[in-house]
Amino acid sequence: MNWTWFYRMGSPLWFYQSTSRWLPLLSLVTLVLLVAGLAWGLGFAPEDAKQGNSFRIIYLHVPASFLALAGYFLMATAGAIGLIWKMKLSYIVMKCAAPIGAALTFLALFTGAVWGKPTWGSYWVWDARITSMLILLFLYFGVLALQYAFHNQEAGNKASAVLALVGTVNIPIIYKSVDWWFTLHQPSTIKLTSAPSMHPDMFQPLLVMILAFYFFYALALILAVRVEILKRESKTTWVRELVEQASRQKIGAK
């Protein structure tokens, strides 16, 4: 098998240049989907027969939880690729995915608490779903902390990648916790094997929001990775040329 395409993808320069082309379009699609999904879900979708308007927080809670889990897989996969192929770019992706994932996990926990008070009667309970989600937040923090715990970047990368890999076990546990154990948290509305247990008028905006969050995640990650690339490659000629070009343009504009 020819692996050259794979190695080319690992080049920070290649990543920087190819994402430059797609960034405007990606930002536009993200913005349109987020605004449309939020307006549709919060403003136009019907309220729930039992929960009334408080159910609408699902339009933030579910997409944030989805991406918190999916983002962890991405981070761990990037860590594994870094460990096996020693690619610079994959470690950068791993590092940048950690704070974004932590923020999404926090958002999922926070919106869950806000939703829990009016429906369950409590902001927080220690059931299997919520506790395993809190562990996910700490795993993200751990990966982030290990990045800064070593003077040597390479050692930090390896330690972070191993922790990220160990933590992947938590992802199926979070996902299946509501089926394996008695929890206060309700089971999943969206299932792979059957139709969603939600009226289509409510489900369609949720799908838009999930898609919007995937785009938002991609955008946030790409922007973070680009900054990290410039930081780490600041001594290379291509970054210097880029900076010179940018400063010339700035002077020209004045």
Partner: protein
């Protein structure tokens, strides 16, 4: 794949396998403690410890809620289809608490088998329906029940 990379891939897979085994063992040893509540059947069969803080979860039995008109005292029964547990509570119930809906009551079970709850939480399901659709479904359900009762 280069042999060194293959070896590193094996190490990565080994890390994941070891982590899965370790967490599997931890969860196995935690056993019942990973469950947020006991079902009424478990409480009846003596699986739930007596005299210590436990939670009981199940469906609130239709017509079982008895409110004291002068205070916040309330009594109701929860069931899992097999057994029922009588719960006594004094406090404000969550908005979604209702007969025929799931609830979790936390407190101590006395010798008489009554759960003296210090906290009652409502548990809602994963189904979401607009009010009009829910009303139509309820009306259709009632009509069907009446039609079934009719011929007898």
């Amino acid at each position: 794949m280069h042999p060194i990379r293959k070896q590193r891939l094996q190490i990565v897979l080994l890390i994941i396998l070891a982590a899965a085994c370790a967490s599997g063992l931890v969860i196995y040893m935690l056993g019942q403690n990973t469950n947020y509540f006991y079902t009424p059947s478990q409480i009846q069969s003596g699986e739930a410890p007596q005299g210590v803080f436990v939670r009981a979860g199940g469906m609130v039995v239709d017509g079982s809620i008895e409110r004291n008109l002068d205070s916040l005292d309330v009594a109701f029964k929860v069931t899992d289809g097999g057994a029922t547990v009588l719960v006594k509570y004094s406090g404000i119930l969550p908005d979604l608490f209702a007969e025929g809906e799931a609830a979790v009551a936390a407190g101590r079970i006395g010798n008489d088998g009554v759960l003296l709850a210090t906290e009652v939480l409502a548990k809602h399901d994963e189904k979401y329906t607009p009010p009009e659709v829910a009303d139509a479904m309820n009306a259709a359900y009632k009509a069907k029940q009446e039609a079934q009762v009719g011929p007898q």
